[in-house]
Structure formats: C-alpha cells, structure tokens
C-alpha cells in the first residue's frame, strides 16, 4: 500500500464514520486487476485501492444513487463527468462528495490471454490534459510526481473506420460503461422500426456507431471507458475526440470544464444571416 492509497482510505473511513455519506464508490482489488467497489461501512474503506489499473469511470454509477449522499473516487475525467452530469440534471450537485485522485494516466486493460508483462498507458490518456478533477472536495496527490512512462510504440493509427466498425459485436459494452449513455429508452430503438436492433443481427453497425458518436458530441469527456471496455478494441474515444474538436472550434466549449458554461445545444442561437 502506498501513501496515496492510505490517504484515500482515511478520507473514505472518516466520511463513513461521521455519516457524511452513505456510500463511497471506489475501486477494490480483484487479483490481477481492479473492479468497482461500493463501501457502505467504515471498515470496508480498507478495501479501497487506487492504481493505474483503475480505468473504469465511476461516474457511471452516480445516477443509480440519485437522491442519496454518496462519495466518489474520481480521476480527472470522472470529475469532468460529474460536472457534465450535474449540468444535464442527472446528479444533484449537493449530494455528491468528490474525492479527487491525481491521475497520471491509466493502463490499457490487459486482454484475456495476454501475458501482461509490457503494460502501457492508454492512447486517450496521452491526449488528456486534466490530471485532477475540476471539482474536488478532497484531493489525494499521487506518489510519483511525473507522469507514467509513455511508451506509445506507434504514432500512426488506422483510419479505416468503416472496416473497424465491422468488427463490432454490438455487445453494448461501450453503452453500458459510458456515464452519459443513461437514457432509459435508447434512441436507436425509439423509432419504429428500430434504427438498430440490439439482438437481431442485421449489421446496422454503421448507423449504430455514427448515432452514438453524434449523441456523444460535445458531451464526451474522453474518459476512454468505452474504448477500454470494447472487446474488439475499436478506438472510439478518437472518434468522439474529433467531434469534441468541432465543438471547441465552433463554440469554444470543452465538456466538463466548469459548471458555469451551458452546453451549446441548450443555448443555441442563430448566427449570421443567410
């Protein structure tokens, strides 16, 4: 156990002992990797861990605990998700305690069957500029001040998106891991007939991925949970990054930066004259 983990555990323990929160959402060890963990008793705080394996975005669970006081262990991107979810009225600002942990990038998750000796930082973490959450009630500094060793072997990447989409299994892991895919009725099934059917294999992968990209545009905080969860390794975050660039160029809006900036589609104004 290192210093930042001890600090995290003591914060979580004191929050639970004083009854400030009912629940601390964090990570626990699961042998080789980590898994989400919900600590509700003070002694359970000892099971919390924090290391570069923690790629999962815990803001995903906040909506399930709406109306209850919860604390969340948040990396930079998780904190931005909290901000964006508050702006979308999915999370009450007052009921969430953010324990921000300084993040130097997370590892690309080891796939089944791989030896796991050479771990490297995920691609999306190399683009990341928010190492600390913009909203923080507590802050846990990382042990090593420098960033993780960035051993990106290939700067070049495939741009053949159309054939990458064909690898998709429609397992919906990207949807289930995303903090912003919270609609109870998904719009891809809202049409009759459905745009994309989840079960019937009709190969509607182009529509599925483009629709999802359009719904992520200007909201995605590029936490990379979808990309890491993807069993066929489609680099989805890179696609959503392009659309966020469009919002940055046109409206100078960066999702999750601050509570004050409203999302551009909500305050859409006509510009110019045609």
């Amino acid at each position: 156990m290192n210093r930042s983990e001890a600090e995290l555990r003591s914060i979580a323990r004191s929050l639970l002992e004083k009854g400030v929160v009912e629940l601390v959402i964090g990570y626990e060890s699961s042998g080789k990797s980590v898994r989400p963990f919900f600590a509700s008793r003070p002694e359970e705080a000892e099971r919390l861990v924090w290391n570069p394996e923690c790629w999962f975005n815990l803001a995903r669970y906040l909506r399930a605990f709406k109306g209850r006081r919860v604390a969340i262990v948040a990396k930079g991107c998780d904190g931005r998700s909290v901000v964006e979810l508050v702006k979308e009225n999915q999370v009450d600002k007052g009921s969430v305690v953010v324990i921000a942990v300084e993040c130097n990038g997370v590892f690309k998750p080891a796939k089944y069957g791989s030896s796991g000796s050479a771990r490297r930082v995920a691609d999306y973490c190399e683009r990341c500029t928010t190492r600390v959450s913009p909203v923080a009630d507590y802050l846990v500094r990382s042990d090593n001040q420098g960033s993780l060793k960035r051993t990106s072997g290939s700067g070049e990447f495939s741009k053949d998106w159309l054939s990458m989409f064909q690898r998709c299994l429609k397992c919906m892991a990207c949807v289930k891991s995303c903090p912003f895919c919270y609609c109870t009725e998904c719009s891809i099934e809202g049409f009759k007939p459905e745009l994309v059917h989840r079960l019937r294999d009709t190969r509607e992968l182009f529509t599925f991925h483009l629709t999802r990209a359009l719904h992520m545009a200007g909201r995605c905080v590029e936490c990379g949970a979808c990309e890491s969860a993807c069993p066929v390794e489609i680099p989805l975050t890179r696609l959503y990054h392009e659309l966020n660039e469009w919002f940055r160029e046109k409206y100078s809006y960066i999702p999750g930066r601050s509570f004050e900036e409203p999302p551009p589609p909500l305050v859409f104004k006509e510009a110019g004259e045609g």
């Binding site: 159309l162 182009f206 483009l210 629709t211 696609l239």
Partner: protein, 140 residues
C-alpha cells in the same frame, strides 16, 4: 448495367413546393432523386441521414427555408449546425463530406433546385458509389 447514384432529398414543407415548382416550370432533373417531404428541416434526425447512407443512398441532400425568411428562431440554423457536425463526422471516418449538402430554397425557386441537384449528382458520379454495405458483404 451502369451504376447510377441514388440521392435522397429531404425537403421541408415550404421548400417541397419549390421542388414541385421545378416540375411546373419544366426544369429537368435526373430521375434517380428520391424526395422525402418532412414538416420542417429541423425535424430531420441526423440518425436518419446516417441510416439513409447505410441503406444505400450515395448522397443526402437537404433543402430548407432561407434563415432570413423565417420569423423568429431559425430552424434552418439548427439543421445547418447538425449538418456541419455530421459532415465533420463523415470526414473523420473517411466518407467524403460532399455527399451531404444543405441548400436554402424558397417555394418559387424550382430552377435553383434542379440546377443544384444536377450538380450534386455530377459530383457523386465523380466520387463513385459509397461502399458501406459492400464492405459488410466482403467481411462476412
């Protein structure tokens, strides 16, 4: 049989009478154009445009009211922003952004519609067919 491009035209209620006007005035445009009339251009869900591409359209053309001719908030501006975002997305995934276009058209401009849609077809003929389904078949 020679390949002919298939083009879907989404027309808003007002500009659809502009498309009709092309017929009344005797302007010609190619027959491989399918027009779909919708109540307003802002009701066109971008997912439906994407779906049109997947289902075999080589290009999608949207005709909408001129923003200056609308009274208060301009729905055409909403459509314009959506189309601009979708063009960026298409460009990213390697589909030419010229396959999606928006045209401001009033109800008396049949000539303009026929001219522009013909120009779009020439452009799509240069680009060739959009191979989304083709790739699917190869990989199965």
């Amino acid at each position: 049989m020679a390949w002919k491009p298939r083009i879907i035209v989404f027309t808003c209620w007002c500009s659809s009478s502009g498309v009709d006007q092309a017929g009344f005035e005797g302007f010609k445009y190619p027959s491989n154009v399918l027009t779909v009339r919708v109540p307003c251009s802002a009701i066109i869900n971008p997912s439906l445009i994407v779906k049109a591409f997947e289902k075999g359209a080589d290009a999608v053309f949207i005709t909408a009211c001129r923003p200056s001719e609308l009274r208060r908030v301009a729905p055409s501006r909403i459509t314009e922003a959506r189309v601009s975002l979708l063009q960026r997305l298409l460009k990213t995934i390697g589909v030419d952004e010229d396959r999606l276009r928006i045209l401001w058209i009033s109800s008396n401009e049949g000539g303009l519609f026929s001219k522009e849609v013909t120009r779009m077809i020439r452009r799509v003929e240069e680009l060739g067919p959009l191979n989304i389904e083709g790739r699917m078949v190869e990989q199965v």
